[in-house]
């Protein structure tokens, strides 16, 4: 469904991505792990067109994404690291932001409240502003916005950063549930190993701008790659 081929990106002398190859199948949940500064966020930004890669290509349904970006974006949702809700809009308008262009206000609002309920937020939250929400509620509202238009592709950028373990587990369960329910393809970037185990079908380890290891989440613990073993052990606190 989505394929990344030979993607490279440098900032000055620093080579952040150095020929990344990745594939994402329909309905698959791929988790990209790696230490800080290994290019995980840059990879997502290049796919979204927020950064221009120096080399390589991104294909969506077998054709270059650049020529069909508007169509891709219409079928896309994203949960940002800090939710990135619009401060000037109440929660329901944030969730219904895309819907308001294609349906009447009352219908969009009803759908937004339905999506908020799906992520465990009460209808009263709809009228609040993002500044009035806790960190966990903001993540949930961001998740509701990401799934509001029933996307085919969803990106989750560090979905559990800044949350306590209980709330992080709840967000992981929500992500896994949404991916299973909707059949959407998902890419999650994280360095939280509990997220990896909860969310992933397949895992890719990014190191020095390259995919160092990739495989099924079950194969992660028995993989021979030393860096992956260190990463997994560090991530689980062993």
């Amino acid at each position: 469904m989505l394929a990344v081929r030979g993607l490279s990106k440098a900032y000055g002398a620093k080579q952040v991505l150095d020929g990344v190859d990745l594939d994402l199948a329909q309905g698959e949940s791929l988790v990209v792990i790696g230490g800080s500064g290994t290019g995980k966020s840059v990879l997502l930004r290049c796919i979204l067109g927020l950064e221009t890669p120096d080399a390589g290509s991104i294909l969506w349904q077998g054709r270059p994404l650049a020529g069909q970006r508007a169509a891709f974006m219409d079928r896309f949702g994203m949960l940002f690291q800090n939710a990135a809700l619009f401060d000037s809009l109440p929660v329901w308008r944030n969730v219904a932001f895309r819907l308001l262009r294609t349906m009447p206000k009352a219908q969009a609002r009803a759908l937004a409240i339905e999506k908020l309920a799906r992520v465990g937020l009460r209808p009263e939250v709809a009228e609040l502003y993002p500044a009035e929400l806790s960190g966990g509620m903001r993540k949930r509202a961001g998740l509701a916005r990401a799934i509001a238009a029933d996307p085919q592709v969803i990106f989750f950028d560090e979905p559990t950063t800044g949350l306590d373990p209980i709330r992080a587990a709840a967000i992981n369960a929500l992500i896994r549930g949404i991916v299973d329910e909707t059949g959407a393809a998902a890419i999650t970037i994280t360095h939280d190993m509990s997220s990896v185990r909860s969310v992933a079908d397949r895992v890719a380890l990014l190191d020095r701008g390259r995919v160092r290891w990739q495989g099924a989440v079950a194969a992660m613990d028995t993989a021979g790659d030393a860096h992956l073993r260190d990463f997994v052990a560090g991530g689980t606190g062993r």
């Binding site: 067109g49 927020l50 619009f86 916005r145």
Partner: protein, 252 residues
């Protein structure tokens, strides 16, 4: 480093930035009427809510100008020209410039802080992922609102400034009310008013452009937003004064 090389590098940097800002402005202005509700919200924010500060500035400026002209004019028996000088001074120069500077202080900083915060908290990236062009949603309504509202603010400020002069003239300087008002209009030409309003439109664009550019290019967290806000106010203020000089030379 070689001073010639330094100068050349600075000149290239300035030219490059000027070109980028010009393209940014053209892209912003080109996306007119994409989001009318957002434009209406910005008209309220930039126009309506700036009215008190612009009005008070004009009132005190007109009153002070009347006192100054009366005091200075008496040295060569020209105290009677207070109404005409206040009117011409307000509509041609002080109304647009001081009004523009007050809007710069209030609006350029607010735009830069808001857009800068949106930039560093990924809200602008979120707009892109929601199939919304940030230039059309954020920049265009602010540019057009300032372009349309500041001339109106200048016009209102002109009237309030002249009234400030009239208040002082009648209550403190011994002018007859009807004669003061009659003399105010007698020497005023339509081009005086129109040129001031045109200045207001240019100043409005400078204010919003400074705020939008500095906000949209902000980077580096809270400190970056702080720098963007400061730069926006400085750029808008200097831009207004430089544009005022150029337009005054062009118009008169």
């Amino acid at each position: 480093m070689n001073p010639v090389r330094l100068t050349g590098r600075a000149a290239i940097g300035l030219t490059r930035t000027t070109g980028r800002v010009a393209i940014f402005a053209a892209r912003g202005l080109g996306r007119v009427w994409q989001h009318p509700a957002e434009l209406a919200r910005q008209v309220m924010q930039i126009g309506w809510l700036s009215l008190p500060v612009v009005g008070l500035t004009a009132l005190f400026t007109g009153a002070a100008l009347a006192l100054q002209i009366h005091s200075g004019g008496q040295r060569f028996q020209a105290g009677d020209v207070v109404p005409a000088i206040v009117a011409i001074g307000m509509v041609r120069e002080l109304g647009p410039v001081l009004g523009g500077l007050m809007v710069a202080a209030r609006v350029a900083s607010a735009i830069a802080a808001e857009l800068g915060t949106m930039r560093v908290t990924e809200q602008i990236d979120a707009l892109v992922t929601l199939s919304t062009d940030p230039m059309g949603w954020l920049v265009s309504p602010r540019l057009w609102a300032a372009l349309l509202c500041v001339p109106v603010l200048v016009g209102v400020g002109d009237v309030i400034g002249i009234m400030g002069g009239w208040l002082i003239g009648v209550n403190a300087l011994g002018f007859n009310s009807a004669i003061y008002l009659s003399n105010s209009w007698a020497y005023l030409e339509s081009w005086d008013v129109v040129s001031g309003l045109l200045k207001g439109a240019v100043f409005g664009l400078i204010v919003a452009l400074s705020g939008c550019w500095c906000g949209m290019t902000a980077a580096g967290g809270a400190a970056g937003v702080g720098r963007a806000t400061t730069n926006a106010v400085v750029a808008a203020s200097v831009g207004i004064l430089a544009a005022n000089f150029a337009l005054t030379g062009l118009f008169f």
